[in-house]
C-alpha cells in the first residue's frame, strides 16, 4: 500500500480517477467471489496434498500422491468416462434441440407463441427432488413409460430402464434434456431477436431453402450465444451431481455415476478422505477450464 506507484506519464489524472472509480464499482462483487469461491478453493488445494482419514490429516509423501492415486482408481476412471459420455451426447443434442425450438418459436407467423415457450421452459423451474421423484416413478418397471410403450405395442415386456447401463444413462440424459433444453432455448430465442431478418430474406431470395438459410445465415450470427451456452452446459455437465445422485443413484454398478457424485461419496458416504476428494475436485476444475479455453479458441474472435 505504502509503495508509491511508478509514474505513468500517458495516463491523465482524470483518466486515473475514472479508472479508480471503475475499480470501486467492481469491489463488492469481486471481493465476494474472491472470498467465497477462490479462497476456499485455495484451501482445497492445500487439502489435496494431504492424506489421512477424518481429521487425522498430514502432508502426503510425495506431495502429489493423491493425484497419482487417481490414475489407479478404477471407480474414478469409470465415473470420468461416464461424465464424458454425458458431455458428448447430451450437450450437443440439447443445444441443437434448443436451437431448432428457438428458431420455430421465432417464426413471426407462429400461433400461441407464449404458450409453447412457457410449456417448454417450465421444467427448468422444477427442483431436483421433485423431478427425480417424478422421473423415477415414470421409468419404474411397471411405470407409465413401460405401460405406454407396451400399450402401443412397441415392446413386449417391460424395459428395466434404470437397471441396465445403457438405458440408465439414457434416462439420465433424457432427464437433463427435459430440464435444460427450454432454458437454453430462451437464450437462443433472445439471441435471435438480434439477427437481422433482411439477411435471411436475402438468402431466401437467392434461392436458399429455409434450412439452408438457417444454417448458413442465422446460425453464424448466433455464434456468441452458442459459445456461451456451450461453455455453461459443458461446465454444468462436468459438475453434474443431482441427476446421478437422485435419479439413477449411480447404478447399475456405478455405470451411470458422475465424477461429482463420486466426489460426494468419497467425502460423505465412505470413510471420509478429504485430501483425495479435493484432488478429485481439482481434476474437475482443470478439465472444465481446459475445455472452456478450447471452446473460446474455436469460437470467439472478439478483442
Amino acid at each position: 500500500m505504502a509503495a508509491p506507484l511508478p509514474p505513468r506519464p500517458k495516463v491523465s489524472p482524470l483518466e486515473r480517477r475514472k479508472s479508480l472509480t471503475g475499480w470501486a464499482f467492481l469491489l463488492p462483487a469481486s471481493l465476494l467471489i474472491l472470498w467465497l469461491s477462490f479462497w476456499p478453493m485455495i484451501q482445497a488445494a492445500i487439502l489435496s496434498l494431504q492424506t489421512g482419514r477424518g481429521t487425522r490429516l498430514s502432508f502426503a509423501e510425495p506431495l502429489w500422491s493423491n493425484y497419482t492415486r487417481l490414475l489407479e482408481d478404477e471407480t474414478f476412471k469409470l465415473t470420468l468416462q461416464n461424465t464424458f459420455i454425458y458431455l458428448v451426447i447430451q450437450v450437443p443434442l440439447m443445444l441443437v434441440m434448443a436451437l431448432i425450438l428457438a428458431n420455430l418459436l421465432n417464426n413471426p407467423n407462429l400461433r400461441f407463441k407464449s404458450m409453447w415457450r412457457t410449456a417448454i421452459f417450465l421444467p427448468s423451474a422444477v427442483g431436483l427432488v421433485s423431478y427425480a421423484l417424478v422421473f423415477r416413478t415414470m421409468f419404474a418397471n411397471d411405470g407409465l413409460v413401460n405401460d405406454m410403450l407396451m400399450g402401443l405395442g412397441l415392446i413386449d415386456s417391460p424395459v428395466n430402464w434404470l437397471g441396465q447401463t445403457g438405458t440408465a444413462r439414457f434416462v439420465l440424459v433424457l432427464g437433463l434434456l427435459w430440464r435444460w433444453t427450454g432454458y437454453n432455448m430462451i437464450f437462443y430465442l433472445a439471441a435471435l431477436q438480434t439477427v437481422d431478418r433482411s439477411t435471411i430474406e436475402a438468402a431466401k431470395i437467392d434461392g436458399a431453402s429455409s434450412a439452408k438459410a438457417f444454417w448458413y445465415v442465422t446460425v453464424p450470427q448466433l455464434k456468441p450465444m452458442i459459445l456461451l451456452t456451450a461453455i455453461l452446459s459443458t461446465n454444468g455437465t462436468l459438475q453434474l451431481f443431482d441427476e446421478s445422485y437422485a435419479l439413477t443413484a449411480g447404478g447399475p454398478a456405478n455405470t451411470s455415476m458422475t465424477i461429482s457424485h463420486y466426489l460426494y461419496m468419497v467425502s460423505f458416504r465412505n470413510s471420509p478422505n478429504f485430501g483425495y476428494a479435493s484432488a478429485i475436485s481439482y481434476v474437475i476444475l482443470i478439465i472444465v477450464a481446459a475445455l472452456a479455453v478450447v471452446q473460446l479458441k474455436v469460437g470467439d474472435k472478439r478483442d
Binding site: T21, P28, L36, L47, P123
Partner: protein, 265 residues
C-alpha cells in the same frame, strides 16, 4: 409443409415438457399407494394430503425461509453484480478485462470442493444456522457479472458523458440512468438467480443445522427420510415447492427474454 412439421415438433416438445408436471399435479390429489401405481387421473385426496403435510411438517417455516432466502439472494445479487458489470464495461481497461477473465474461472469451481472450508469460515463468523450463510455465497456469481457486463455494451456511452458534464456523480449516473434503462436485464438476472436460490439443495442442508431455519427442498427430503413415505403428501409438497419458481418465471418471462437479448447485442 414445413410449418406442419414445426407444429408437430413443438407439440411433442411441449407435451414431453408438461407431462411430468401434469403427473406431479395429479399425484398431489391421490393417495400414497395410488401414486406408486402411477394413477394418471385426479383423485380425491388433495385435502387429506394437505392436512397430513401441514400436520407433519413445518410448511409455513420452510415457505418463509425459502422465500426470504430466494428474494434476499435475488435482490442482493442484482445489486452487487449489476454494479460490477457496469463497472467492467463503462470503465473498461485491459487490466479489468484480464481481471474479469480471472473471475470467470470461479464458475468452474465445484461446490462440493469448497464446502468444508466455507463451513469453517461461516463458523468463525458465527453464522452457522443463519439464513445469511445461505444467501452470501450465492450473491456474487461470475456469470451474472458477465451478463450485466455484456448487457452494458449496448448502453450508449454518450449519455454517460452528457450526465458527467451535467455534474452527476458516477453512482448517480448508475442509479438514475443505467438502472431504469436496463430493467429487462435485471428481470433476466432475477429469474436465473431466483430459480437457483429457490432450488438450492446441498448447502442449506449443511449450514442450517437447526430446524428453526428450513427450506422447502430440505422439507422434501425430510418427508422421504422415514421408513414409511406418504407419496401423495410428498407430491403435494413437491408441487408447492415447484410453484413459486414457475410463477416468478411466468411473471417475468417477457422481460426475461428481452434482458437476455440485451446481453448479447
Amino acid at each position: 409443409m414445413q410449418s406442419v412439421a414445426g407444429y408437430v415438433f413443438l407439440t411433442l416438445a411441449a407435451v414431453a415438457s408438461v407431462f411430468p408436471l401434469y403427473f406431479m399435479v395429479v399425484s398431489a390429489t391421490n393417495s400414497s399407494n395410488e401414486v406408486l401405481a402411477s394413477k394418471l387421473l385426479p383423485g380425491t385426496h388433495l385435502l387429506e394430503n394437505f392436512r397430513t403435510l401441514v400436520g407433519a411438517q413445518p410448511l409455513g417455516v420452510a415457505l418463509w425461509y425459502s422465500a426470504l432466502i430466494a428474494v434476499g439472494t435475488t435482490i442482493l445479487a442484482l445489486a452487487v453484480t449489476s454494479v460490477a458489470g457496469y463497472g467492467f464495461e463503462v470503465f473498461h481497461t485491459k487490466a479489468k478485462d484480464r481481471f474479469m477473465g480471472f473471475l470467470l474461472l470461479g464458475i468452474m469451481i465445484p461446490f462440493a470442493a469448497t464446502m468444508i472450508p466455507l463451513f469453517r469460515m461461516f463458523g468463525d463468523l458465527g453464522l452457522v444456522n443463519s439464513w445469511i450463510a445461505v444467501v452470501l455465497p450465492a450473491i456474487s456469481t461470475p456469470f451474472l457479472v458477465m451478463l450485466f457486463r455484456q448487457a452494458s455494451r449496448s448502453f450508449p456511452h454518450e449519455i454517460i458523458e452528457a450526465a458527467r458534464i451535467d455534474g452527476l456523480k458516477e453512482l448517480q449516473i448508475f442509479l438514475r440512468i443505467y438502472v431504469p434503462t436496463m430493467r429487462p436485464t435485471f428481470a433476466a438476472a432475477a429469474v436465473i438467480t431466483f430459480m437457483a436460490a429457490w432450488n438450492n439443495f446441498l448447502w442449506p442442508k449443511v449450514i442450517l443445522v437447526n430446524n428453526d431455519v428450513q427450506t422447502l427442498p430440505m422439507l422434501l427430503t425430510n418427508i422421504q427420510a422415514g421408513y414409511v413415505t406418504d407419496y401423495g403428501m410428498l407430491m403435494l409438497a413437491v408441487l408447492i415447492a415447484s410453484l413459486p419458481a414457475m410463477l416468478v418465471f411466468l411473471a417475468l418471462q417477457k422481460s426475461f427474454a428481452q434482458g437476455i437479448t440485451g446481453a448479447i447485442k
